[in-house]
């Protein structure tokens, strides 16, 4: 009996699958849609997972994220003496020095740790793997802590530091070291960063010994931060928004993919309705038919899902270096530029493919289950848009639109994205109703029999194509939205760079003496020398940087101010006020007139400037005031004004005279190029996603058209018999596809601009901390309009060609079959 049942299943499955064997193109489209959807989803997930794993490695190995930190409040100093006092009092703490090393355009994080006290903090740090970064138990501790010392880094990091002046430090290659980070002893780090006895922070054991005296008795100027709270400067918290951004796009692409799968699967059920009935009439139980249909879908999902995962992997591998560059350029987070295979990721990719197919197939399965065994005249065909269906969709869209302000009220990045999703879905849902209304209007205007038939026939096809058209609309809207965002970003950013990098040269000296000598040498050769000193400080509770700048027209005329109090440059020069960057202003809610706590006393804020590409808070003050407050800050950096045509020669002379490395002199144009590169890479990821999304939508349209072509011969045959040649019918078919695509594209424009507004005014502010003016680009819209026409042409060509070549026999068949 069981063998009989197995044989029966094989037979039925064979009959079901034979449908696809007779229509290989349709099968290919179904699989391709599912595969691309999975690839988009899992590719982005791979990128996200890799970046997260990098943060986790850093946090686990170094305890930076996981352990509580003690940091000085309000810009006060934390020194080795504080560390010693706390240890004496019984506190389980270990000192940390953090900073950045520059080598040419490369920036490497420097992390100073104290290996002995460090190992005592976490039990986990003692067992093998976790302690393998930095000096392990077998390492030569003496060589690590005794100058010139040893530094632990990956081979890639070591390459980035090639040629840097590290005062004789020996670099030990350690594959387990966090990406782009050099780990050295605390003392060595203080030396390399010129910090004297200062420390960045103390990391503390999660549980302190019960007898330890409270913090405010031993070191009242220190505050204990909760690692779970995730301050805005925590790389994971900062970059979370970037990843949420990516995930949202992946989800959007997956939804577009779902629309395809839904349309392909739905039409497949529709086409096979007769076979399913026959199978049941011949004695296959309903449950078996359903189970075998589901099994067929599951196999398709697994095959397409697996292919999608491979494709997603390739996509992620191609995008990863760009993402790594973005994350370090934009957020200062260090991420490995390569990819690792994670089983969880593979499973989630397959899971998404299965879930997506299940969602797409559910409707078909339910209809099959309910289908009466005897076909009572055709039930309303799946491919026909019913007035009731359209009404329901419009109602659903209305509900979503009502939910939109609620999502915005929730606020935050999640609220912003939820509102985005509501808006997009609502737009997609009303699209068929809008197109139907347009066609109804056209029907009343149509003159001539053929035109009338054309409009009516188009209306009838709307149901079968609506999912594909929705997918196309979403893809176009996403393209418009993201394209507008990138365009706005680019124009704002380049304008800002021009203002911000208004000096011709930026020169960094290696020592203070050299700095003085350079300024003396330049005094007669340059138009102006503008020293820029800076110091790290805690700003409104977050680590940031304070700059001291000279009073000069360079700033007065160019600085990218978002808000300014009257006379701000004068008050800045006189040390009566400061400027803050937009990030600090938004995060801490500080505005003009508010006072901000600074080392050496609070000052009022006289202006806010835009500071794209920097994750941290920043303050600008007058150079004199800065000198009083930070007498120890190294005086190494200056901007140089000179006639642009003389800048190159001056840079060469300067390098020659002081034997400066190439990285010490930054040419304005070169700096702009590097900044723009980082920026372009940021959006290469989303641009790639956009192109793929459009491709996915094109495939959806093709699938819909191909499937419809096989269903709708009975509608074409009578028109052909009445004397319209096949070529004419084919041309009309192509024209129909084009008109629908153009109408869909027109509908996508306001939706896409709405999306852009949401991205710029809501999501961007939450994710990056700054708001950009919206810049609608007509060329972009024209380009996308052309893209939608091309997509329609590509999708419509094959079905039209097939129709033009159809044999009279196939058309006659329609009449013969009317039994």
């Amino acid at each position: 009996m069981t063998t009989g049942r197995l044989a029966r299943w094989r037979l039925v499955l064979g009959a079901l699958v034979s449908h696809w064997m007779r229509r290989p193109l349709q099968l290919a489209m179904l699989l391709a849609g599912l595969m691309l959807a999975t690839a988009l989803w899992s590719g982005v997930q791979a990128v996200n997972a890799e970046a997260r794993a990098s943060y986790a490695t850093a946090a686990d190995r170094l305890g930076t994220g996981a352990l509580p930190r003690l940091e000085p409040a309000g810009g006060q100093a934390l020194t080795t003496a504080d560390f010693v006092a706390l240890r004496r009092a019984g506190w389980q703490v270990s000192p940390v020095v953090e900073g950045r090393l520059r080598n040419g355009t490369a920036r490497v994080s420097l992390l100073g740790i104290e290996p002995v006290t460090r190992l005592g903090l976490t039990p986990a740090a003692n067992d093998g793997g976790d302690a393998s970064a930095g000096p392990g138990p077998q390492a030569d501790l003496g060589a690590f802590i005794t100058p010139p010392g040893q530094g632990y880094a990956t081979a890639a990091t070591a390459r980035a530091l090639d040629g840097a002046d590290l005062r004789g430090l020996a670099i030990v290659i350690d594959a387990d070291a966090p990406p782009n980070t050099l780990i050295v002893d605390v003392g060595i780090a203080q030396g390399l960063l010129g910090m004297g006895e200062n420390l960045t922070a103390l990391v503390a054991a999660t549980a302190q010994p019960p007898g330890a005296p409270p913090l405010d008795r031993i070191a009242p100027h220190l505050t204990l931060s909760d690692p779970q709270a995730g301050s805005a400067a925590d790389p994971a918290a900062l970059t979370d928004s970037f990843h949420l951004n990516l995930t949202a796009f992946a989800l959007l692409s997956f939804i577009v993919g779902l629309f395809i799968t839904q349309s392909a699967v739905g039409l497949a059920f529709e086409q096979r309705g007769g076979v399913l009935r026959t199978l049941r009439a011949l004695g296959v139980p309903r449950a078996e038919v359903l189970a075998l249909m589901a099994a067929e879908l599951a196999v398709a999902a697994l095959v397409a899902g697996a292919a999608g995962i491979v494709l997603g992997w390739a996509m992620a591998a191609a995008l990863m270096p760009g993402v790594a560059a973005t994350l370090s350029g934009l957020y200062g987070a260090d991420v490995a530029g390569s990819l690792q295979l994670r089983p969880g990721w593979v499973l989630s990719g397959l899971g998404m493919a299965l879930a997506g197919t299940a969602l797409a197939g559910a409707r078909g399965l339910i209809q099959t289950a309910r289908m009466p065994l005897l076909a009572a005249g055709m039930a309303a065909p799946w491919a026909q848009a019913t007035a009731r269906g359209l009404r329901l969709q419009v109602i659903a869209a209305g509900v979503l639109v009502l939910a939109l302000p609620l999502c915005l009220a929730v606020g935050g990045l999640v609220g912003g994205f939820a509102a985005l999703a509501c808006g997009l879905l609502a737009a997609a849902l009303v699209l068929p109703a809008v197109l139907d209304a347009v066609l109804r209007l056209a029907a009343t205007r149509a003159r001539g029999v053929l035109t009338g038939w054309f409009v009516a026939d188009t209306r009838q096809q709307l149901g079968g194509l609506s999912l594909a058209l929705m997918a196309l609309m979403l893809a176009l809207a996403a393209n418009i939205g993201v394209g507008t965002m990138v365009g706005s970003f680019r124009s704002t950013f380049t304008g800002w760079l021009d203002q911000r990098l208004s000096a011709e040269l930026y020169v960094t000296a290696r020592t203070e003496d050299e700095g003085r000598a350079i300024r003396d040498w330049l005094a007669t050769r340059a138009d102006a020398i503008l020293p820029i000193w800076n110091a790290e400080a805690s700003l409104a509770g977050q680590p940031g940087r304070i700059y001291g700048v000279a009073d000069d027209p360079t700033y007065r005329d160019n600085w990218p101010l978002l808000a300014a109090a009257p006379g701000l440059w004068d008050s800045l020069a006189e040390g009566r006020a400061v400027l803050v960057n937009e990030q600090l202003s938004r995060r801490a809610g500080l505005d003009i007139g508010d006072r901000i706590d600074l080392p050496g006393g609070a000052l009022p804020i006289a202006g806010v400037y835009s500071d794209y590409g920097n994750p941290s808070p920043q303050v600008m003050m007058g150079l004199d005031d800065f000198g009083h407050r930070f007498p120890d800050a190294p005086r190494l950096y200056q901007a140089v004004r000179v006639a642009p045509d003389r800048a190159g020669a001056l840079a060469a002379g300067l390098a020659d005279r002081f034997d400066l490395p190439a990285s010490a002199i930054v040419d304005q144009s070169q700096a702009k190029r590097v900044s723009l590169q980082i920026f372009e890479r940021t959006f290469a990821v989303t641009a790639a996603l956009n192109v793929l999304t459009l491709a996915v939508a094109g495939i959806a349209l093709l699938t819909g058209l191909l499937t419809l072509a096989s269903i709708r011969l009975p509608q074409l045959a009578p028109v052909w018999a009445a004397g319209i040649p096949r070529r004419r019918l084919a041309r009309l078919d192509l024209l129909r596809t084009l008109l629908l695509a153009v109408a869909t594209g027109a509908f996508a424009v306001p939706v896409g601009l709405g999306l852009a507004w949401m991205l710029l005014a809501v999501v961007n502010v939450e994710a990056f901390g700054w708001r950009l003016p919206m810049d609608v680009s007509v060329p972009l819209l024209a380009r996308l309009g052309a893209a939608s026409v091309l997509t329609a042409l590509a999708a419509g060509a094959l079905p039209a060609l097939r129709l033009a070549r159809i044999t009279p026999g196939q058309l006659l068949r329609v009449f013969a079959d009317e039994r």
């Binding site: 034979s18 199978l279 011949l282 004695g283 139980p285 068949r813």
Partner: protein, 227 residues
């Protein structure tokens, strides 16, 4: 499994069958108390005007639809109590159904269609299929697909499919409707041979008096009842 046990003399038994279709346009009463008994080795012809309910009755006997009222048992299965699986089992193993609309599987070729139900029932016999194909004049068409066949050719494939598994009950809905007289006669002889040689039962719906005369018995459906 429960192939018609040879001891069962009465293969189909219907008493007081009622069937009404419910349509948006109103009720369509079709059968109003049909009584019918078909025995082993017996052939019964049902005649009646178009729209009188012949196909409806055949579908009820074939377990494709359920009567509103009355007693109906086929090959020992009480069709008023049977669930979907039991009905499917009956159709698969006990009944060869020839549909008025053929209902071939369009994506399978003639050979696969011919053997399909016999294979489903686990009773496929290559030699029998071969003979049937020859007798039905389908030998040259085995590699074709239904859409490449004429209406009569399709009808013969449907007949072959129903007979290939030698089912104990054959239900044929106008099996010769699309055939010329000579072919129709040949096909009728094929069905009757099954009845005579294997003791199966045949219920066939037809407008053809010639065909009806070939059967053991003839009943006429009028006003929802058999006479």
């Amino acid at each position: 499994m429960n192939d018609a046990s040879p001891a069962l003399a009465e293969i189909a038994h219907a008493r007081g069958i009622h069937k009404t279709y419910h349509t948006p346009g109103g009720e369509v009463p079709v059968l109003r108390g049909v009584d019918l008994s078909v025995r082993r080795g017996e052939s019964v012809a049902i005649t009646g005007e178009s729209g009188s309910g012949k196909s409806t009755l055949l579908h009820l006997i074939g377990g494709l639809d359920a009567p509103d009222d009355g007693a109906l048992s086929v090959l020992g299965t009480d069709l008023r109590a049977a669930d979907d699986t039991a009905r499917a089992t009956l159709r698969r193993n006990g009944i060869g159904m020839i549909f008025q609309q053929f209902n071939l599987i369009p994506s399978l070729d003639v050979r696969a269609n011919l053997g399909f139900q016999a294979r489903l029932a686990g009773r496929f016999d290559a030699a029998r299929a071969e003979t049937l194909a020859r007798d039905l004049g389908l030998s040259a068409l085995l590699g074709r697909y239904p859409e490449q066949l004429s209406g009569g050719q399709q009808q013969r494939v449907a007949i072959g499919r129903a007979l290939a598994g030698n089912p104990p009950l054959v239900l044929a809905d106008e099996p010769t409707g699309n055939l010329d007289e000579a072919t129709g006669d040949a096909v009728a002889q094929l069905m009757l041979a099954l009845v005579r040689q294997r003791g199966s039962a045949l219920v066939l719906v037809t407008h053809s008096a010639r065909l009806a005369d070939l059967c053991d018995r003839r009943v006429h459906l009028r006003a929802g009842r058999l006479a």
